[in-house]
């Protein structure tokens, strides 16, 4: 600390607790209670970053979440580092490490600074205009643009921190713990309401808590003293839950709000272990009071972006709250009275104030008179036309404004300064109000947008609604809160407030300079380097909508979302186009208000909790037998069981061969199962499936195909008639929940007259499916009394049998084309039955197979998989499954759609088989099929949906959907791949055992 920038202020900063931190490799010190920004400023560091486009040196500008420049990379750990952190919001902790972003090799000497001199060549839309052609070069351009763009570095390792979510409910939610929010909280609590009060800073009190002038008085006390008593009162109030360091991220409809609480970011890294870093509150509030305050606006003039140029309110806060002087020679530039409070704070702290430049003609308000009486030079009706100092401001040039305020006159005055405090008035923070769907109206007096209409049970008070003077803030907050809560009297009704009243107002969105606009750099959006010139260029080029101007110039599109820039951008558009700002409207305010880290949004839903997964009762057996798993919906299904160093292909070939030649066993527990009962159950099946069910006998099974009302295949599966009026439907694994919902929907809404009850029993039963030529022998070993003869137990039938105490449903149904039995038992016996089958099958070398082998086996038989061979555009006719459409039934879901003009087209895509000319060539699923390779672009006739190498047929087989496929049997077609073209012949869809000899044993 070469200069003495700390003043004696023990109130909010604890000077007994010295903290060390590292900025750009240099070790520095601050105190407990500092923000990173105040600590840097106390070390006389303003220059902290480079701007996005021109790489101009930029300094700390604000003291809050609106900070556009001081965005730093915090930490240097690959997993914990955080980019784009606002130094003004980071509470200092011991050992903090931070670095400047967007500069190389250093913030003091940045090569990219050359862009500043090239800036005439880099107007708005530069990238759009320049990198248009040739289009094929885009990939090369992009590489370099990406390198030069972007701010901080993302962490490269997994986030080890813990995050939390919590639901909160309250009568009244108050967002913002400044004076108006505190008053509202107290009024609500006195009315016995449950209040939740959120404050994004560490301490309650807003800006009034450090207000130190002698003009403002509440009940004859210094306003900050009065407020401290109120805060003590509220802290002990049992009706009020206070959450500090908690910022509201999003305000949704129906008073549903999301807030993020910082729990450990202010702690030294070594004491954060095992603590939750941030918590996301999901809040449902009966009523919401928004008291988020206002943000000071800068002024727009030539070179208004140098380090050392700060908002006047920030300069005041650094003195009054943190005890830090931002400069030793100050100049204030304002258009309103609030900056005079900064003047008083500077004076009181003994800091030199060289002059105040005020664009107004004069003012005689109480506070201005007080400043006048201190002998401070005020330049009325003057503006700053330029500033000097590359890495820190050292001079301002001042000239008189003409009558219209659009040009400057007289001679140029030069003033020295190392800190320029600017104020262009105040903007209410209406973000949350508009996020919630509220409509704004424009207030011509203060040039602000204020809350107008809302559909929600909410209220904006204080400067968030456009009250800026203490008496208005307090009295209107009390009055509005009472009305909102329907309360007659409050303890604040006789409040006595004294404050200075502003008498003169003047606003110029773009201040003139002695240079032509084209030679100046009046910045609007500091972070994205957009200037007033860019806005005017966009308007000249025909962009009229404010949303288009925003995107073309990128104004307001930085991490600060234009909190400082947007009003000036609107003002300049309005002035240039002669539009009323109220008619122009604003750009859309979208959540989150300040950036949220992904961890907070995700909360505990990471790793194994990211999504639930479902395991069958036999899961452990699969794990112990080296199964590889695939996700099917939420299920973990055994995919294949590699032995030794087998590849997937090797394993699947072995498993398939075993199933065809001896026996295989599959865990089919994941199939959806719906228990259907009721006197109309049969009629119900007739209505939901395409085929006829009336004649199905008890003990028999039938395959069914379900359509959507548009005629497209929706699901399929086998349904068994367990008893009179009692069926067990199976669905695909992935479609189970949707089928259940669809059936319930029809029952409740279209056919409420049907006596049918549906119960999802997917999890209640588990299924072991034993197949292959030796299946019958294995089942006989398990169920010794069961008659498995074809006469007694034919294909597509079912028997109930007991194994000891266990009730078993055995179905003879097959998805592989082999003789096969499915044993269904209550889930808790699933593993027992499975192991029983394995044991019984040992002598036949029973081979467990996974879903991949199942897919191969069924493809050999040409059985479809809904969702693999169909995609929501395939009718049963397209699938060549005309046989399953009942001609006799009057109606079923989707029937009428099967002869719509579109579904009867001959040239629809239809399911076919494909055989490669080279039997060893395996097609890739998804590969396109063409006829003529030379015609470019090639006409794509269809694509491969399933493809395998069949070990039984010793050749490659595939299913595909193909335009006019039915007529193309025997035709030679081509499948072009990246490195070769594969020749194929269209075939039948059934490749193996067309006569069904295997199924019938």
């Amino acid at each position: 600390m070469s200069k003495n920038l700390r003043i004696n202020n023990k109130q909010f900063v604890d000077e007994t607790r010295k903290l060390s931190f590292v900025f750009n490799g240099k070790k520095l010190y601050g105190y407990k209670g500092d923000t990173l920004a105040s600590a840097l400023l106390s070390n006389d560091i303003h220059l902290v970053g480079r701007s996005f486009k021109y790489h101009r040196p930029r300094g700390i500008m604000t003291s809050g979440s609106e900070e556009p420049n001081a965005i730093l990379q915090i930490g240097n750990d690959d997993a914990l580092t955080e980019p784009n952190a606002r130094a003004t919001e980071i509470e200092l902790y011991d050992g903090l490490i931070c670095n400047s972003q967007n500069c190389w090799p250093s913030v003091k000497f940045d090569i990219g600074g050359i862009n500043n001199f090239l800036s005439p060549l880099l107007p708005a839309g530069f990238y759009y205009k320049t990198f248009m052609w040739p289009a094929s070069f885009w990939e090369k351009y992009e590489y370099f643009i990406r390198k030069s763009a972007g701010l901080g570095k993302s962490p490269t390792k997994q986030d080890p921190d813990m995050y939390d979510h919590r639901y909160m409910h309250c009568d009244i939610l108050i967002v913002g713990g400044g004076v108006s929010g505190l008053i509202a909280a107290k009024i609500a609590s006195d009315d016995n309401k449950k209040v939740l009060l959120l404050e994004d800073k560490e301490l309650l009190g807003g800006s009034l808590i450090y207000d130190d002038n002698d003009i403002s008085k509440i009940d004859n006390q210094k306003s900050s003293e009065w407020l401290k008593k109120l805060i003590d009162n509220i802290k002990n109030d049992k009706n009020i839950i206070i959450k500090t360091r908690t910022s509201l991220a999003a305000y949704h409809n129906y008073n549903f709000l999301l807030a993020r609480q910082n729990l450990t970011d202010h702690l030294s890294v070594n004491v954060r272990n095992n603590k939750i870093r941030q918590r996301l509150y999901k809040i449902r509030a009966k009523k919401v009071i928004i008291s988020t305050g206002a943000i000071e606006r800068p002024q727009v003039f030539h070179n208004n972006d140098r380090p050392g140029i700060m908002l006047a309110s920030a300069v005041k806060k650094y003195i009054d709250y943190f005890g830090v002087r931002c400069g030793l020679e100050n100049v204030i530039f304002t258009n309103n009275d609030s900056a005079y409070e900064t003047a008083l704070s500077l004076h009181k702290s003994g800091t030199k104030l060289n002059a105040i430049i005020d664009i107004r003609d004069n003012s005689s308000s109480e506070i201005v008179n007080k400043v006048k009486s201190l002998g401070i030079q005020i330049y009325w009706n003057h503006t700053i036309v330029n500033t000097k100092g590359y890495k820190r401001i050292n001079k301002v040039s001042v000239m008189k404004l003409n009558d219209k305020g659009n040009d400057v006159i007289g001679k140029k005055i030069e003033l020295n300064c190392d800190c320029l405090a600017i104020s262009g008035g105040w903007t209410p923070m209406v973000h949350l109000f508009t996020q919630s769907g509220g409509k704004l109206k424009f207030d011509n007096k203060d040039n602000i947008f204020v809350p107008d209409k809302t559909n929600l049970n909410q209220l904006s008070i204080g400067s968030a609604k456009g009250d800026f003077e203490l008496d208005d803030v307090l009295k209107n907050s009390i009055k509005d809160t009472k009305k909102f809560l329907q309360i007659e009297n409050s303890n604040f009704d006789k409040i006595d407030v004294k404050c200075s009243k502003e008498k003169e107002k003047k606003n110029i969105w773009l201040l003139p300079s002695d240079k032509p606009l084209s030679k100046t750099k009046p910045f609007l959006d500091y972070q994205n380097d957009s200037t007033a010139k860019d806005i005017k260029l966009a308007l000249r080029e025909g962009f009229k909508s404010i949303e288009h101007v925003k995107r073309y110039t990128t104004t307001g599109m930085g991490t600060d979302q234009g909190k400082l820039a947007n009003m000036h951008a609107l003002g300049i558009v309005a002035d240039t186009t002669n539009t009323n700002m109220g008619d122009l409207g604003t750009t859309t305010f979208r959540p989150p208000y300040t950036p949220l880290t992904f961890g907070t949004i995700v909360g505990r839903n990471v790793g194994q909790f990211f999504d639930i997964f479902r395991k069958t009762p036999m899961h452990d057996w699969h794990v112990n037998n080296n199964a590889k798993f695939e996700n099917v919906g939420q299920w973990k299904r055994a995919w294949y069981y590699p032995k030794d160093d087998e590849t997937m292909h090797d394993a699947v070939q072995r498993e398939s061969k075993a199933a065809r030649e001896s026996s295989g066993i599959l865990d089919a527990s994941t199939l959806g199962k719906i228990d259907i009962q009721g006197t109309d159950a049969n009629e119900f099946l007739n209505r939901v499936y395409t085929n006829a069910w009336s004649k199905l006998q008890i003990g028999k099974c039938r395959y069914g195909l379900m359509l959507n009302e548009d005629g497209m295949v929706y699901d399929d599966g086998v349904t068994t008639k367990l008893g009179e009026n009692h069926y067990l439907m199976t669905t695909t694994t992935g479609g189970a929940a949707n089928v259940m919902s669809k059936l319930e929907d029809y029952l409740q809404t279209e056919w409420p007259e049907l006596d049918v009850f549906l119960t999802s029993v997917t999890d209640h039963y588990s299924t072991a499916s034993v197949c292959g030529p030796n299946a019958k022998k294995i089942i006989t070993k398990i169920f010794k009394d069961l008659d498995l003869s074809d006469e007694s137990f034919p294909h597509m039938s079912f028997k109930e049998v007991k194994l000891g105490e266990i009730n078993c449903r055995v179905m003879r149904i097959s998805f592989t084309g082999e003789l096969s039995y499915e044993i269904n038992v209550e889930a808790s016996y699933g593993k027992y039955i499975w192991e029983k089958c394995i044991e019984a099958g040992k002598e036949f070398d029973i081979t467990p197979y996974g879903t991949e082998t199942m897919h191969l086996l069924r493809a050999e038989k040409g059985f479809i998989i809904v969702g693999q061979d169909t995609d929501g555009t395939m009718t049963p006719v397209d699938l060549q499954m005309d046989w399953i459409i009942s001609k006799k039934k009057y109606d079923f879901i989707g029937k009428r759609s099967l002869y719509r003009s579109d579904t009867i087209r001959e040239d629809r895509k239809q399911l076919v088989g494909l055989l490669t000319d080279d039997p060893n060539e395996i097609l890739e699923e998804g590969a396109q099929i063409v006829k003529d390779e030379n015609k470019k672009p090639m006409d794509m006739l269809g694509h491969v949906t399933s493809s395998y190498f069949s070990p039984t047929l010793k050749k490659s087989i595939a299913l595909a959907v193909l335009k006019e496929g039915k007529q193309l049997k025997g035709q030679k077609l081509l499948v072009p791949m990246i490195d070769k073209t594969i020749k194929v012949t269209v075939s039948d869809t059934v490749f193996l055992d067309k006569e069904n000899e295997r199924i019938n044993g």
Binding site: D745, Q748, T749
Partner: protein, 91 residues
């Protein structure tokens, strides 16, 4: 995120529900007697209006019952909730 007052369970968070689109589109009793245009009218045509829209909702993560909701699509305000089979209210 809405709060929806399920007629069977009471007020619940929207995340427990799924929307089923426009309400009061009755499945024709005799689809085979409709021509393509009439069937397409039932199958594809939805109003999607700005203003009060009658729609079906299902308490999927609750009682699984379907019911009807009159919602103002311009501000998502739910004006009325009524059971399946009941006539839409005059709003």
């Amino acid at each position: 995120m809405f709060l929806i007052n399920c007629p069977y369970c009471g007020e619940r968070d929207q995340s427990e529900f799924v929307s089923g689109g426009e309400a009061h589109i009755v499945r024709p009793k005799q689809p085979t007697e409709l021509n393509d245009d009439q069937w397409a009218e039932y199958l594809f045509m939805r109003k999607n209006i700005k203003g009060i829209q009658f729609e079906r909702w299902n308490h999927a993560h609750g009682c699984r019952k379907w019911f009807n909701v009159a919602r103002d699509t311009s501000n998502d305000k739910i004006e009325k909730i009524y059971k399946i089979g009941e006539q839409p209210p005059k709003l």
